[in-house]
């Protein structure tokens, strides 16, 4: 079973960063094209292409989490809980600030914010059980 987990961990540490690298390359390629001239439908389709590696990365995340043992899944659950709470409260607070005249927060920032706070949440959860 530990061998399976190690294999799953190895697979995740290779495939997740690879998917995110493809995502980054696609963003760099797609954004200038989408900002140029062209029919609206093609821009809509093209701008959604980077979503494919993101969905693949998320599926790898899910596969990795399913390979963990019960305690590690608890750590992940706490990290996701912390991340969801931080992201939701931050977005809500920013929404209130926007009413008071703060600049609009781009919705595209929500996923990176979630990922960052997930990392911090995982560190806090690990520290709690150390």
């Amino acid at each position: 079973m530990n061998t399976q987990r190690t294999a799953a961990s190895r697979r995740y540490t290779v495939r997740f960063p690879a998917a995110m690298a493809v995502y980054a390359m696609l963003i760099v390629l797609v954004i200038p094209i989408v900002k140029g001239d062209g029919p609206m439908w093609s821009k809509v389709l093209l701008v959604l292409v980077p979503l494919i590696p993101v969905l693949y990365a998320l599926s790898e995340c899910l596969r990795f989490i399913r390979s963990l043992d019960e305690f590690q899944i608890r750590l992940q659950f706490e990290a996701v809980g912390i991340s969801a709470a931080v992201t939701a409260v931050f977005c809500f607070a920013w929404g209130l600030l926007e009413i008071a005249g703060a600049p609009k927060l781009p919705v595209v920032m929500v996923l990176p914010m979630f990922c960052m706070s997930y990392g911090i949440g995982l560190m806090l959860a690990c520290r709690r059980y150390r």
Partner: protein
């Protein structure tokens, strides 16, 4: 919940990693159970009892009321 995992492991001269391998969990999980920060599920507790050839209540005891 209290447990005698560390004592039983020491009696057999097993490392946390060896016990983790025998149970199919991570070393981090063994450490969390030994330090009392995490109570295992019933299936894992049964597995631990099986590995040490003891009854569950011989390894895990409820906190004093």
């Amino acid at each position: 919940m209290n447990n005698r995992l560390r004592i039983l492991r020491a009696e057999r001269d097993w490392s946390q990693a060896e016990l983790a391998d025998a149970l199919g969990v991570s070393r981090q999980t063994i450490n969390a159970i030994e330090t009392g920060k995490y109570d295992p599920s019933l299936p894992l507790a049964f597995k631990i009892a099986l590995v040490f050839e003891r009854a569950i209540e011989n390894i895990f005891q409820p906190d004093a009321p």
